[in-house]
Subunit: 778 residues, 2 copies
């Protein structure tokens, strides 16, 4: 834990410069627009410790697998998000002395992320040894209005000296990933051009030949007047630069603009990249910095309109949730069905691959409620498009008949991960992918999605579950052997309750969905079943599995068991652990973790979260208390779900504590790892702990249900939900719940168990009810 | 499977040259003397595919660990046997044309390993394009009489041309391992000298600074007369060579001798290596090739005297067992307590590290019966010396109070392996190390070993078992959770019967050993217990564990279960497997292997082998039949133990089939992997399947028991056993068993359940009994 940033509702503020925090700040101050991203690196050369990160969505490198001991079925490569050619570089020399924050005297420093308007700002006053004191103000943004554009305004005032300023604006494609299995470079040059103050570098990834064109144009103003530049071009393999010199007197204000364009071969023919980059540059340079900035502000205003959560009375909580929502909006915009949400988004290299089950299990509800329907739809379609590869993946593991196992980690649909206990055994991910279809359909009522895409995926997943299930003679039941559940502190267990429960649910939902499609789109149904060579005996077996699946249960305690044999472990509580032994995954050997009762993240509780309706309050509370007290929350995905469930059972204080932990996980660097990047996918979990936790949002019988409670510390909070065509804003105070329908359409909602209609552009107000859990029964 | 070698009782013969077999041949034709070894590489340059291998015992490289995903407790390095400076190199040019078997026309070729006398021979007749036809005969050996000496005699006859022969004898330290995690070179140069026809190269390993001095001296004879050489020295970093030219007429016989000395800093002060290498060279050059060869023959005669097994009527079986015994004697001589038996000995790089549980579980009985007592003693002392590191290793995994976990793979006592399911969980190895002490003591009656060394190890191991055992509330018994048994096709299982059984046995044997030491060496006992801070409560817990350990058992079948839940698996037999799916570990993904019932190697059966006395014939047979039919024998250590147990239960045909599989595993390259090196440790298993299998050798109540049977195909067989000071030779024919006592001491033996005394240098003859299993009861 390290809280060095200032609390502020709309901004992330670093008030002085500590090089030890630099990598963490670089992560937190990342910018992105769904199509590209950039860590909070300095524009000018910095000789201190830094993780340089420029990322272009969908451009990856298949890095040759590194394992100690190979197993059949391991993937040949791990797809890595790559550090792309640097477009922010802007080196500054004053009277021949370089500006480098690692080697000058810092007299003042602020780094500020303005989340409301989507830009990064830096102000500093430094003494450059051998030159003099300068004041600088730097603003940078990546446009969400014009998604191939970035811009930098770098203003300088030499306070106490005159002389020559040399500016080198460059594009550097000779960059590396820190995370490279064999220390290779991933980029080659495909072309470069340089003329006057404009340069373009086209880079090509090794192996897959993705191409990225990075362009820049440099402009310099002295005291508000544009100076005529006669830049000296510098050009070498993978690098282009424009170097310009201007004379200054002390107190002159020099303002440097660097406009950048980043285009990739995902969106342009490779042979057009250079020309198109010129066009984009023409457009943005013409529009100029201030108007681009105004576009950015307007576009962010619209994002916040749809997704903001306002908390009053608790700025730390407010800042936390805003930071999370800001990052989610920066990472994924839903405009491209080929893209997804990487665990680190555009903020770092760790976990290289792009897509985990996090997307379906944690992120989808945020996008369903906070953006146009097509955004969430893109996420589910993404997996539909990967279906053939998921079938191929299952085939490699010995499955037949079109059974699909979606990969644990993927970029293009192929599995990237290489730990047998995860790659081959953490099969519950298939469940989350089915659940996302269910979630999408029940939220949007877009049942036709089932006919068009969803059912095909569901059948393939159900075929997998069916084949993965074994009949146990001694138990006279079906079992699922050798799995890893969501709690990765258990490996290769038999009958993980969550997994078995999910298999049953998927089979049942697939059968229901078949009925829906057959009844509504009989032709599509017949075509699909024929295409899949579906046999009636398949559903017969599914029905038998649904009826006869073994679910581990401990009679004595009346608890479902995380897996068979869980009670054989020494039963200890997290409260009994020596704090010096935490986090366990950094202190204990793996075998010790595995045979302990300690839980990394929600497992049974994750199942109860998904299938809540099947359990009464008492059962939910009993399981929560038993398992949460054994949970070390050493996954970023743990606290959020536990917070939702703590709210659900009326454990307000616990819910609030867990909320803070998830909301400020990166801002306060709880796990001492924010230097590697932000936990993007768990940020959607933070949103869940407010909207589904405190707000008690559910969907039941096709209706939006709300059961808001309010944490003691808060005066009020509000959140927004888009649901089946209506846009609702829910404001909760200690005394009342006010729901505003901001759309034209009448909204049917259930508040504290009672049904209401709210006409378009109307609102309703009701008293707050303090014990929400009892109300879930209705 | 690939049987291209000729069957011969004393020799391994390759009759023509197929480059595709070259790596396999290089493995099989390896030479060694316990202190150094050499694959069957050619002396002259060979441009075809080859795995060059020169090895010096105890000289290793700590190669930085390579894993995909790091776990706490993983070792920093994997210790690799290293390919050492090449001393055999002898390049030949005739009239400027190099002799290279990859690029000349081969008119005849034989490679022969003479196991009786311990040398490698090669005869060939080739046409060197542009020169002419030559005939060559090459003999090479590594002396077991003078263990720092090697010698080569390379005779050539140019058949149809005259001209100039250029010989380059070299030492090359610029060598690589194929198995290097990061493609590093492991050697630096520490010094070199070259003068006339002698050169010495001192090489130093990176990181650990082992030094190896390799020396050579070259002599050339023409038609039996030594020629005066004026060699041209060649010297560069890590390389020294003497190049000599002589003129020849066709049909001249030119004989080149290359004498080599290999000394290491394990046995010489580093600063004396160069001088000592000169001394060794002086000695061996003076003795000359023929007398060195005579010494070698005599020394091997003595080895065979102690360890030979003679089979008549089955040359394939005879060749197999001789090859196995030959390799065991080449690999380990017991002269140095720092050394051990690597899985590949001196025949390849695979499995780099030197010591596995193979030594204790499979190899020890061979050395106990076939060599002086000190040889086996060195093996047990080796582990005693590693005890402090085994305690440190357990500490890393969270154990306290001097508990020891011996490493899975080690060179110097530190763990080298890095798969959590093996490194941390395959803890049964600790049992084998305790059992080796028991085996050594019961075989030799050297009880004082317990007081001097054994008990300290036993207590440390028992402390580990005690702490590794958990009390299960539901079972009301002790359990051992999260282990991998000998069958590595199951990982992280609970209550592996073998492991639990071994824990009980170790605790009990430790308590017994404490009694023995207390009664016989009370002072030593008290000193030791004080040193270990031993408390009476420790044995109390041990007793409770012995009484209350859970052992998985299936009531329905009346079988001990390999682990808890084994019967939940789909029960299939190996006979039902599609042969195209074999070997499973090359065809099935790991999860599929894990959840199948198929077994890699003896697990329950391995336990029944060790603890045979605790089970009656019916139980042994029932378990053998159940488990063997599910065993794919995909470990080289599987067939041998199953062969012993098949003999035990009277399944003669099965025992014989399994014997052949283990005996000729490498010669016939059953698993298509002999190119990587020979399976040295499983070779001792082959010996077990004859001596303990067909011969029925056991030790009961301190007596040597024999129950010989004879495979149908054999006319007779004989084996040798050294036991408590007597040396017995057991000859078995279809009709009779003849036991010759080749020592002075009277031997007390039990044959077919009846006790006999055989006076020194006497023999006894009894009828063979055809159904041995029933006789084990006595």
């Amino acid at each position: 834990m390290n809280r060095y940033l200032k609390i502020d509702p709309w901004r992330i503020i670093e008030e002085s410069f500590n090089p030890d925090n630099n990598r963490v700040s670089e992560s937190l101050f990342s910018l992105g627009n769904g199509r590209m991203g950039q860590r909070g690196n300095f524009e000018e050369h910095y000789s201190g410790d830094t993780l340089q990160g420029t990322y272009v969505a969908g451009v990856y490198y298949p890095d040759k697998t590194k394992v100690g001991w190979w197993k059949v079925g391991y993937p040949e490569y791990f797809a890595k998000v790559i550090n792309a050619p640097n477009w922010i570089g802007l080196d500054i020399e004053l009277n021949g002395k370089p500006l480098d924050l690692a080697s000058c005297k810092i007299l003042g420093f602020n780094r500020i992320l303005n989340m409301k308007e989507g830009y990064l700002e830096r102000n500093f006053r430094v003494e450059i040894y051998g030159a003099g004191i300068i004041e600088a103000e730097v603003r940078r943004f990546i446009s969400i209005a014009d998604t191939e554009a970035g811009a930098i305004r770098y203003s300088l005032i030499p306070v106490n000296f005159s002389g020559t300023l040399a500016v080198t604006a460059y594009l550097d494609g000779d960059v590396r990933n820190e995370d490279a299995n064999y220390n290779e470079k991933f980029w080659d040059e495909a072309g470069r051009q340089i003329k006057d103050s404009r340069a373009i570098l086209v880079s090509k990834t090794r192996k897959l030949d993705f191409q990225v064109a990075t362009g820049m144009e440099l402009k310099i103003f002295r005291n508000g007047i544009e100076t005529q530049l006669n830049p000296i071009p510098e050009s070498r393999k993978k690098y282009v630069a424009c170097k310009a010199e201007i004379q200054f007197n002390h107190d002159d204000q020099i303002t440097i603009y660097k406009y950048a364009a980043v285009l990739s071969s995902l969106n342009h023919p490779s042979d057009r990249l250079m020309d198109n980059a010129h066009q984009v540059l023409d457009r943005i340079v013409t529009r100029s910095f201030d108007r681009l900035m105004a576009d950015q502000t307007a576009a962010w205003y619209e994002k916040w309109e749809k997704s903001d959560i306002v908390i009053s009375g608790d700025d730390a909580a407010q800042q936390g949730i805003r930071f999370n929502i800001f990052q989610l909006n920066q990472t994924y915009s839903g405009e491209d069905e080929r893209l997804n949400i990487g665990p680190k988004g555009f903020t770092g290299e760790k976990y290289g691959g792009s897509t985990y089950w996090d997307t379906e299990a944690f992120c989808l509800p945020f996008y369903l409620c906070s953006a146009d329907q097509k955004v969430a739809r893109s996420l589910v379609v993404y997996r539909y498009k990967h279906l053939p590869k998921a079938i191929e993946n299952a085939k490699k593991l010995g499955f037949t008949n079109g059974a699909a196992l979606y990969p644990m980690v993927t970029m293009n649909g192929e599995e990237c991960h290489n730990e047998w206990e995860i790659t081959f055994e953490e099969i519950h991910r298939n469940g989350a992918i089915a659940y996302a279809i269910y979630n999408y359909v029940r939220h949007t009522d877009d049942k036709k999605y089932l006919a068009d895409y969803g059912l095909e995926v569901l059948i393939a997943i159900s075929r997998f579950w069916s084949q993965r299930t074994t009949w146990s003679e001694p138990k006279n039941q079906f079992v699922i052997l050798g799995v890893t559940g969501p709690n990765e502190y258990e490996n290769n267990v038999n009958n993980n309750w969550y997994t078995n429960r999910f298999a049953i649910w998927t089979l049942r939902y697939t059968i229901e969905s078949m009925d829906i499609v057959r009844d509504n789109w009989p032709e599509k149904y017949n075509v699909l079943l024929k295409k899949l060579k579906f046999r009636a005996s398949e559903t017969e077996r599914w029905e038998r599995i649904i009826q006869q699946m073994y679910l581990p249960y401990d009679e004595k305690s009346g608890l479902f068991m995380q897996q068979e044999g869980y009670m054989d472990k020494e039963q200890k509580l997290v409260s009994e652990l020596d704090p010096n032994e935490r986090p366990l995954n950094q202190k204990w050997s793996w075998d010790r973790i595995l045979r302990s009762c300690f839980i990394k993240q929600a497992d049974v509780i994750q199942g109860m979260y998904f299938f809540e309706d099947e359990f009464d309050d008492e059962i939910l509370a009993k399981h929560f208390n038993f398992y949460e007290s054994r949970t070390v929350h050493e996954s970023s995905l743990s606290a959020c779900i536990h917070s939702v469930m703590a709210s659900r059972i009326g454990e307000q204080q616990k819910a609030y504590e867990l909320y803070l932990r998830t909301a400020r996980l990166d801002l306060d660097d709880y796990n001492d790892e924010a230097d590697q990047g932000c936990h993007i996918t768990s940020m959607a979990g933070t949103w869940l702990s407010i909207v589904e936790g405190f707000g008690g949002k559910r969907i039941k019988n096709g209706k939006l249900c709300l059961n808001p409670a309010i944490p003691d510390k808060w005066r009020s909070y509000s959140f927004k939900i888009r649901f089946r065509g209506s846009s609702l804003e829910i404001n909760v105070t200690r005394d009342e719940v006010r729901i505003i329908n901001r759309s034209e359409k009448t909204a049917e909602i259930v508040l504290y168990g009672k049904e209401y209609s709210i006409k378009g552009n109307q609102e309703m107000i009701r008293d707050t009810v303090s014990e929400p859990s009892s109300l879930f029964k209705g």
